[in-house]
Every structure is written in structure tokens, then in C-alpha cells.
Point group: C2
Chain length 189, copies 2
């Protein structure tokens, strides 16, 4: 159990031992309910066949929601990014989860990501725009570049998130890459 | 000495006592050279009459540099912001330091900032663009709004830094304001 807990992100070997001890000591309040929750997850959680989101249904509650705007697909790397955008309440359209980013050095090529299904979805008549909401990292941006090429003959408009100074950001604390991007993409007032 | 040191940003009363003790103990290596450096600063450092930068000369070495592009003025809140942009090497033009931002609640109105001189400089024939490189905070943005109005009849183009995802930024760690700005200002590819 300690070894498995230590594989969770954020838990090292020492904190995994602490967590295991806490689970054993608090059997009824913690260990039993956690085991039950994990079993429920095993039984009920499925990956949405449309967008790659995780939910208890496929298509997921977002894909199945008739009030969602179907003209735009927001492409994200991970389900965590989808959650972040949903928490912020800034997307009213559909999503597509790639399941990571291209990383040739780690052997992660296009076939390992949920890309074929994205191209297929982008060809649907109702889809007008694909917004690549990928991380502003080297991997995220090279994945965006690859996707832009792949989407070029689908007829949809392809866009990416704006890059620049984050809201609340003070110049003095920003790295030079961000300052350069913010100056390059400056907006006329 | 402790009380004065404690007024420095980043030093609390306790670290000010530690710093004072270190200065006294290391008289020849630390205390004497620091006192000399402070005296040099008193004698030699002046505020540039053109842009508000601090230097040993007025006009400062940036304003006096003939290789600087004189068609753009980059407006910053503080000298620290100018230093950040110079460190990043992303500005080849001139600057203008406001000396802070508008803050009506603290009694800081336009007359307390270096604004009149900016308007005057913006009217020069050679100046084509004023880039408001202010912090993406509420104060910075309301100052930018005020400056845009004041500059409207000078004939220069007024721009602001792009706002969005910082370079290297991962969606999962960004606040909702930044996510919303990044989606609003998304770029077509």
C-alpha cells in the first residue's frame, strides 16, 4: 500500500508512509470509505467516447448537454485542464481532451494521443472553430503546431489562447519570454 | 539603524535586527563599504528629467543613447519595471516612468505621477506609439485607461501589453481572470 500511495503525484515515500498509517489508524472513518470510493470509481467512471472527458456516462454530461454551444471545440491536454476551464466558467462550448502532449523523446507520438477523433469531430458541419487551449510550454506549443497542420484541410477556424501578462501580473515578476510575448502581441487601444 | 533597516521592503523587525548585527560584526567588509555606497548614491544618483529613470546622469544613459528607437515610448509604473524590461532585452525604444499608479483611495491623483511630462513627450514629431506597459492589476489598468484618454489628442498610437497565458504557463495553475482573458483575446492561427 505504501509503495502504491508513493506513486501518487505529490506524495513522496515518507508522506506515503504517513498516509498509510493514517488510513490504518482511522479504519472506519477513512480506510473503509476510501476503498468504497475507489471501487465506485472502478465500476462507474468511464472515458467519454466523444471528447475524452471522464464521467459516469459516455457521452459525458458536457457532450450530452443540449445548451452547450456546438460550434466550437476547446482542445486541452488533460482532464485537469478541462476542470480548470469549467471551474473558471469561461467555456460554453464543447471540449476535446488529448490525454497529453507530443513528446518524441518520451516516445509519445500523435498515435498515442486522442487526435484522430478530434479531426473526425472537426469535420462535422456544426463545428466552426477549434480553440487549442494547450499549455504555453514547449511541448504544448509544438503539439498546437502539429494540430494546426492536421486541421488545415477540415475547413474549421483554428485559434490558440492569447499569451501575455497574466491578470494581476506585475512586470517586475515576469520572465523575459512572457515580457517579449506581451510586447509582440501588444494591443492597440 | 534597526528601525531604518526594518523600513526596507522585505525586511521585518526581526530580520532587520539580524541585518544590523551582521553589519556591526563585519565592520570593515560590510558596514564601511555599504556606508560609502550609500554616500555615492546620495551624491551621484539623479532622476532623469526626460523619462524619470534613475541614473548618474540626466538625461539618463537610455535617453542619451543615439541607437535607441525614438518612435516609441514604453510607459512603466516604476523604475523596477524598466529594469525588468531591460533585463529581458525586449525594448529597443525609450521609456517613461510614472512613479506609481493612480490610487484615489490613497490620495494619488494624476498630479502626483509623472504624467504631464509624458503628454509633452508624446507630442514630439518623432513619437509614433506609446506602449502602456503597466501591471495587469486593477490600479495599473485604470491608470492605463486614464492615460489613453489623456493621450487621445496627441495623435500617437496608444497600445497596451497583451494579456493571457504567461510563457511556460499551465492551464491548471492559472486563475479564472487569466483564463477568461486568454480565451477572449484568442489568436487565429
Amino acid at each position: 500500500m505504501v509503495q502504491l500511495l508513493a506513486r501518487l503525484p505529490g506524495l513522496g515515500p515518507r508522506s506515503a508512509r504517513k498516509a498509510a498509517l493514517a488510513l490504518i489508524k482511522r479504519r472506519e472513518e477513512l480506510l473503509v470509505p476510501l476503498a468504497a470510493a475507489l471501487n465506485t470509481a472502478i465500476e462507474r467512471i468511464v472515458v467519454c467516447g466523444e471528447c475524452g472527458n471522464v464521467d459516469t456516462l459516455s457521452p459525458c454530461s458536457i457532450c450530452a448537454n443540449p445548451r452547450r454551444d456546438r460550434s466550437m471545440i476547446v482542445v486541452v491536454e488533460e482532464v485537469g485542464d478541462l476542470w480548470a476551464l469549467e471551474r473558471a466558467g469561461v467555456v460554453s462550448s464543447l471540449y476535446h481532451v488529448l490525454g497529453g502532449h507530443l513528446s518524441p523523446l518520451d516516445g509519445i507520438g500523435p498515435e498515442r494521443l486522442n487526435i484522430a477523433r478530434l479531426i473526425e469531430r472537426a469535420r462535422a458541419d456544426e463545428v466552426k472553430e477549434v480553440l487549442l487551449a494547450l499549455n504555453a510550454t514547449v511541448e504544448g506549443q509544438s503539439t498546437a503546431h502539429y494540430l494546426t497542420e492536421q486541421l488545415s484541410d477540415t475547413g474549421v477556424e483554428v485559434s490558440r489562447l492569447a499569451q501575455g501578462v497574466p491578470i494581476g501580473g506585475e512586470l517586475d515578476y515576469l520572465d523575459e519570454g512572457t515580457l517579449a510575448a506581451a510586447i509582440r502581441a501588444r494591443k492597440r487601444l
